[in-house]
């Protein structure tokens, strides 16, 4: 740890949240005014847990409830966040009960699952909460035994005083501890003193998961609850004109059917309020099957939307977006992107004199890559519970960003945000899709209309055809090598619908003397958004495939070729900045080289490598391929990650394995196409998902040992696996891959 890692001030709303400075003892001194205040307990010995702060409640029997502020969608925060709390608290791990927190902006800092930031951004708060709670318990013991706190030790939920032989459990001390006033400075542990962080703990919800206990939003139930379904326009670019509601209301088991508008005319959408279909038919009934049948029976008329502008609140900045009319098709998008690539694109970054360098280059390679839209296809379809009464709004279900949706549901239901209670359930997958929770607003609006609690359930078809898809992209790379096969010129031109994929300061910016990055986008009415680092996963796929071909042209080993570029960025950087740590980037390549046995693999093995940096962590993979049922496939995967401190190794490894399988699946099979605005795939019969026989035989995950504060793993391992696969497939088949999904080209050959 270096001092500048610790010099920071974080603010939260009205209150200053924490200040940190380096402590001489090697720990971290913290001063803070704690958010959630402790609750004193009366003397009666009931079993009610005592609140020590927003995160930690200790019951007289010693049970410790650890509140998890961030929504869980399989990234394991329900286990890893309590581990951080328990570490600093010196709590016995077996005493911890993890509980998903509701949306409580006054108690917690950042209740958002996305951008691979949960652990990175939660790290200090969680440690402070654990250390603060421990200190209150120490103070309670010190007061009880009339000894200085400095003479006390805490271990496994017990506080002891060696000299007197006194000891007491956290549970015994909790009530007194709640009365203690924390000093302004307390010390966090040095990393070398961690005893729980870095030790694998299995999922705290494992038993509930394997026994089918109600955990997910779709399992949520309440008394008098009705089931709701929606019918949205069959194509992007269309909206509801009218519907025959009378015949639907007559169907058995149906209690109501009506036209629902999910927005109010004056509401200004925020960035995560994306929804193409805001005028829809809602159908409400007693049982899910009745509602599904009524949805299928509905006869509705649709009309084309017109080109219009919509105001957008982009994280506090007011902008305006154009929603074009028209029915879009994948074939047209492709032609539009090809045409745009031929135009003069806006320049994002220039270093040196790229045109001149290309003219003088001994060898020039130019390649264009394409990827289609992708649908998220979380296994649990979108759903939400809503109950609107005269007193306020109660919603519950799976979502990544409760704070982002709170203003919209408040506006739509006519309540202030403090009257909106958002309960967060475990999510059956998210991958970015559940950052956009229009379905929560729809559930609340339906409840308000029918005056009953409702659970809105999307069918798979609703889910797949009302997507917030990963955009479709195209990128063209050009590389120039000099007579010594050094990369002297590099150009990247990116286009996409509705965004391009270029991060102009990313690698290899900073490592090439003559560099040009350009990008432009095409407007669309098809909704898109976050998808496990949408731009990065396309760039990881395309750039790293391209560099493999450039390395081959240079006659260099693909790892050596990349490491030489990182050395250049370190020793003689080009331009004013670049946004990666070249040493850490090279570090994961070196680790994966060692662990995969890259240099000693027999020539008969076909292998590919790729690395990428995004969302604060570094990832590299080596893939080997084999042939199965006549088609090449990934066989063994070796992964190297640098995400700083690894909190829970087994879960971190699981995340990497999952990203590898997900990336191979999307590279091989992932594709959503549109014809006249209509999604061509509506369910898993046509949308191909990777299956068990298509997954690699093994995925061997390694982490760079590090004392740097932890960064995330949700996104970083995903982008480079695409190219590690294509590069290995090239070795296997002799063919380069320029388009996803790869299966099309593999089945042709």
């Amino acid at each position: 740890m270096t001092a500048n890692h610790l010099k920071f001030v974080t603010s939260h709303g009205r209150r200053q949240f924490l200040k940190a400075s380096v402590a001489s003892a090697g720990g971290l001194m913290i001063s803070f005014s704690w958010l959630g205040t402790a609750t004193a307990m009366d003397e009666s010995k009931d079993s009610t847990p005592v609140k020590l702060n927003s995160y930690l409640y200790v019951a007289p029997d010693g049970t410790i409830t650890a509140m998890v502020p961030n929504p869980e969608f399989g990234q394991n925060v329900m286990t890893s966040m309590p581990m951080i709390l328990a570490e600093e608290m010196d709590a016995d791990w077996s005493h911890i009960i993890a509980k998903q927190a509701e949306y409580q902006p006054d108690e917690f800092e950042r209740q958002f699952t996305g951008g691979s930031q949960s652990i990175r951004r939660g790290w200090q708060s969680l440690r402070m909460a654990g250390a603060g709670a421990k200190h209150m318990l120490l103070m309670a013991a010190a007061a009880k035994w009339q000894v200085p706190t400095a003479q006390l030790t805490a271990k496994n939920s017990v506080i002891s005083h060696t000299a007197t032989g006194n000891s007491a459990t956290f549970g015994e001390l909790a009530a007194d501890a709640a009365l203690m006033q924390l000093p302004s400075d307390i010390t966090l542990k040095a990393n070398t003193d961690f005893s729980l962080i870095g030790q694998s703990q299995t999922n705290v919800e494992g038993h509930k998961i394997v026994t089918g206990k109600p955990l997910f939003g779709i399992d949520y139930k309440s008394k008098d609850m009705l089931i709701a379904g929606l019918v949205h326009a069959p194509a992007f670019g269309k909206t509801l004109k009218d519907a025959d509601l009378a015949s639907i209301k007559e169907m058995p088991g149906i209690t109501d059917a009506f036209i629902l508008e999910s927005t109010t005319p004056d509401y200004v959408k925020s960035y995560f309020d994306t929804s193409a279909f805001t005028k829809i038919v809602a159908i409400v009934g007693e049982k899910t099957w009745s509602v599904i049948k009524a949805k299928r029976a509905l006869k509705a008329q649709w009309e084309d939307i017109k080109t219009h502008k919509e105001p957008l609140n982009r994280f506090g900045t007011m902008t305006e977006i154009t929603v074009p009319g028209g029915l879009e098709s994948t074939s047209e998008h492709r032609k539009q992107m090809e045409a745009l690539l031929e135009s003069e694109l806006p320049i994002l970054r220039t270093d040196g004199e790229p045109d001149k360098a290309f003219a003088n280059a001994a060898k020039v390679l130019e390649r264009t890559y394409y990827a289609p839209y992708l649908a998220h296809n979380t296994m649990e379809p979108m759903n939400f519970y809503g109950h609107v009464t005269k007193d306020g709004v109660h919603v519950a279900g799976p979502l990544q960003a409760p704070g982002m949706i709170s203003p919209w549901v408040a506006e739509r239901t006519g309540f202030s945000q403090d009257k909106v209670r958002i309960e967060v359930t475990r999510m059956g997958g998210g991958f970015g899709r559940r950052a956009y929770s229009h379905y929560l607003v729809e559930a609340a609006a339906i409840s308000a209309q029918v005056n009953r609690p409702v659970k809105l359930i999307y069918t798979r078809e609703d889910d797949m055809t009302n997507g917030i898809y990963r955009p479709t992209y195209m990128v063209r790379f050009k590389a120039g090598l000099d007579a010594n096969n050094r990369l002297i010129a590099y150009q990247v031109d990116g286009v996409g619908v509705p965004e391009h994929s270029i991060h102009e300061h990313r690698f290899p910016a900073g490592a090439v003397d003559n560099y040009l990055a350009r990008g432009d986008a095409i407007e669309s009415n098809i909704t898109t958004g976050a998808f496990r680092a949408p731009r990065s996963n396309f760039m990881g796929a395309s750039e790293q495939t391209f560099l493999d071909e450039v390395a081959e042209l240079a006659g260099a080993d693909p790892i050596d070729f990349r490491i030489a570029l990182f050395e250049k960025a370190l020793s003689n950087p080009v331009g004013e900045k670049y946004d990666y740590d070249a040493a850490r980037y090279a570090g994961v390549l070196k680790l994966v080289r060692e662990k995969s046995g890259w240099d000693t693999m027999p020539a008969s093995m076909h292998k590919g490598v790729a690395a990428y940096y995004c969302h604060n962590s570094y990832a590299a993979h080596v893939v080997t391929t084999t042939v199965k049922n006549g088609l090449p496939k990934a066989d063994k995967v070796f992964s190297a990650l640098d995400c700083g401190v690894v909190v829970n190794p087994i879960a971190a490894s699981n995340m990497v394995q999952g990203a590898v399988v997900d990336g191979i699946g999307n590279a091989m099979y992932g594709e959503m196409t549109f014809t006249n605005g209509q999604p061509d795939k509506q369910n898993f019969d046509r949308y191909r998902m990777i299956r068990i026989d298509e997954a690699p035989a093994s995925i061997d995950v390694h982490f760079v040992k590090s004392n740097i504060d932890p960064t995330g793993l949700g996104e970083p391992p995903f982008p480079p696996i695409f190219a590690a696969l294509t590069n290995a497939l090239y070795q296997q088949t002799g063919k380069r891959f320029y388009e996803q999904p790869l299966i099309k080209q593999l089945e042709q050959s």
């Binding site: 099957w289 991958f431 399988v661 299956r691 068990i692």
Partner: protein, 151 residues
């Protein structure tokens, strides 16, 4: 609306449901058994897998009227205390990520092991191919099944 007596997890349940109601929704809506999951509704993802006389079937595509006297087992009835060898190893080896598909995966694996106590890779893949895991836990699923088979 017709009435059906169906045998689930060794108990007889009486339900009023349309003849075409999939068993999935009877379990979830009428019988308060949420462990069987809705994934696709067309028997393409396996999230809703239950046993019918010990065989893995997709409850989203099995009408309640077709069950008759056949015995249904759901995840809630797979073991007394959630201690089926597969459930135990699933926890020990930390198979799940989001966990949504895992009850279907376990039910499918349990039916496989009953018919073939020592499946090789090819047999596991053939049996488990119908179950999608979007988080990508396949390598651990396969290893977990093998661990139970070996034990």
């Amino acid at each position: 609306m017709p009435t059906y007596n169906i045998n689930i997890n060794g108990k007889s349940h009486q339900v009023d449901a349309d003849a075409d109601t999939p068993l999935l929704w009877v379990l979830r809506d009428d019988l308060d058994m949420p462990g069987t999951k809705f994934g696709c509704g067309i028997a393409m993802c396996g999230a809703c897998t239950v046993h019918l006389n010990g065989n893995a079937v997709r409850s989203c595509s099995l009408p309640v009227s077709a069950i008759g006297s056949n015995e249904v087992t759901t995840i809630e009835g797979l073991s007394e205390n959630g201690d089926h060898p597969l459930q135990k190893v699933w926890i020990e080896q930390d198979v799940a990520q989001c966990g949504y598909c895992q009850t279907g995966q376990i039910m499918n694996a349990a039916a496989l092991l009953k018919q073939n106590p020592n499946p090789d890779d090819a047999a596991i893949e053939a049996a488990m191919k119908g179950n999608i895991c979007r988080c990508g836990t396949y390598v651990r699923i396969k290893n977990a099944i093998k661990s139970v088979a070996k034990a």
